[in-house]
Symmetry: C2
Subunit: 212 residues, 2 copies
C-alpha cells in the first residue's frame, strides 16, 4: 500500500514539474503533457486500488481461514469458514456446523448467509461480499446466488478438500461439471394428473404471496 501511495506521489510531482517547464510551449504540447501525466496518474491510482483490494481481501480471507481452524478445534464440523462483509466490516464470521447442529446443510457459507440475513433482518445480501476458505459446493453456491451476494472470494480449490476425503461434488458448482449426473439417488418426475396438480400450485397462489 505504501508503495502504491509512493507511485501516486511521484506521478503528481512529475506532473507539477513538467507543467512548470512548459509555460512557453504551444497548446498541443501542453495537451500532450497533460494526457500523458493523466494516464500515469490513472495507472498509479489503479495500482493503489488493486493493492487496497488485495489488502482487504487478504484480511477477510484470513479471517475465513481462521474460522475453518476454529470450527475443527471446537468439534463443530469440517474445516470450512466463511465471512460476510458489508462496507468493509464483518457482518458475521462462521464455520461449518454440520456436526454441532446435526444438519448436513449447515456448511460454513450457508450458515454465514443465514446468520447475516438474521442479523441484518433482510433476505437479500446484495450489498455484501462473502469470503470462503474453500471453493463453495453446489449447495453453497446456490445459497450465495439466492442471497444475491455481489462478490465471492474463496481460498482453497475444491481439490484440496477432496484430497482429504470430502465429496468431489464440491468442485461441480464453479466448473459446471454436472454433479447431478453423479448422484446415485433415483429421481422421478411426476407425470399426468399429478404433474398438473403440482404445477397448478403456482398459478393458483401467485396473487397471494410476496415474490422474493
Amino acid at each position: 500500500m505504501d508503495e502504491a501511495n509512493g507511485e501516486i506521489y511521484f506521478a503528481l510531482r512529475d506532473f507539477r514539474s513538467d507543467f512548470a517547464s512548459i509555460s512557453c510551449s504551444g497548446p498541443d504540447f501542453v495537451q500532450w503533457v497533460f494526457v500523458n501525466h493523466a494516464i500515469k496518474l490513472l495507472k498509479s491510482s489503479i495500482g493503489l486500488f488493486q493493492t487496497v483490494v488485495q489488502d482487504r481481501d487478504h484480511k477477510f480471507l484470513t479471517r475465513a481461514v481462521e474460522e475453518a481452524y476454529k470450527g475443527v478445534d471446537c468439534g463443530d464440523g469440517g474445516p470450512f469458514g466463511a465471512v460476510v462483509v458489508r462496507n468493509d466490516e464483518v457482518v458475521v464470521s462462521c464455520h461449518n456446523m454440520v456436526l454441532k447442529h446435526t444438519d448436513p446443510t449447515a456448511h460454513a457459507e450457508v450458515t454465514a448467509i443465514r446468520e447475516a440475513c438474521k442479523k441484518l433482518n433482510q433476505i437479500e445480501l446484495a450489498d455484501c461480499e462473502i469470503y470462503a476458505s474453500c471453493e463453495p459446493c453446489p449447495m453453497c453456491f446456490g445459497a450465495i446466488h439466492l442471497s444475491r451476494i455481489k462478490r465471492l472470494v474463496y481460498g482453497a480449490k475444491a481439490e484440496a478438500a477432496i484430497a482429504i476425503g470430502f465429496d468431489d461434488f464440491i468442485a461441480d458448482a464453479l466448473r459446471g461439471t454436472g454433479f447431478y449426473q453423479k448422484a446415485s439417488m433415483e429421481i422421478k418426475r411426476a407425470d399426468g394428473k399429478e404433474a398438473i396438480i403440482a404445477e397448478q400450485v403456482f398459478e393458483k397462489t401467485k396473487a397471494k404471496f410476496q415474490m422474493y
Copy 2:
C-alpha cells in the same frame, strides 16, 4: 391396487388348474407349464408393485403439494412443499420458510432435510425419500445429495415456477445447464500464498475431525 391383486389371484388359480391337468404328461411339458406360469405370476407381481409404488408416490406427493398451498396461506414463503418419508411413514412435512425466517436458504427441501435430521438425530438420511412439490433448485438438490437421501420424487417442472416469476436457475440442477455461468456476482479465487494458506487447512486438520 385391487386390479393388480385380482391379476395375481387369477394367475395363481390358472397355475393350480394347469398343474392339476398335467399329471399324466412328461417332465419337459411340466417344466414348460411351470416356467410359463412363473412368468405370468412375476408380471402380475410387478404390476402390483408398480401400482403400490404409484399409490404411495401419489399420497406423499399430494402431501407435498398441500404443504405448498399451506405455506402461502400462512404467509411463510413461496409455494413450495417437501416431505421426507422413511419406511412409508412421513418423518417431516415442510414448506418454504424464506419470509417467515428471513432466510433465503429456507427452501422447502432444505427445511425438510434440516427438520428430518433433527428429528431422527442423524446427519444422513440414506434410508429416506424426499417428495418435493416442484423440481428442486441447485441449492436444494445439493442439500438432497449431501443428506444422502436415496430417492427424490418431484411434481412440477421448474418452468411452472419460472412462469410466475421465480429465478430460472431452479431448472439448472437436474438439467446441468450451468447456473453458475449466469451468476452476476464477481468470483475471485485466491492465488499465491493465500491459496496455499487456505489449502493447508485440510492437511493440518484432517486428523482432528470426524469425516461425514
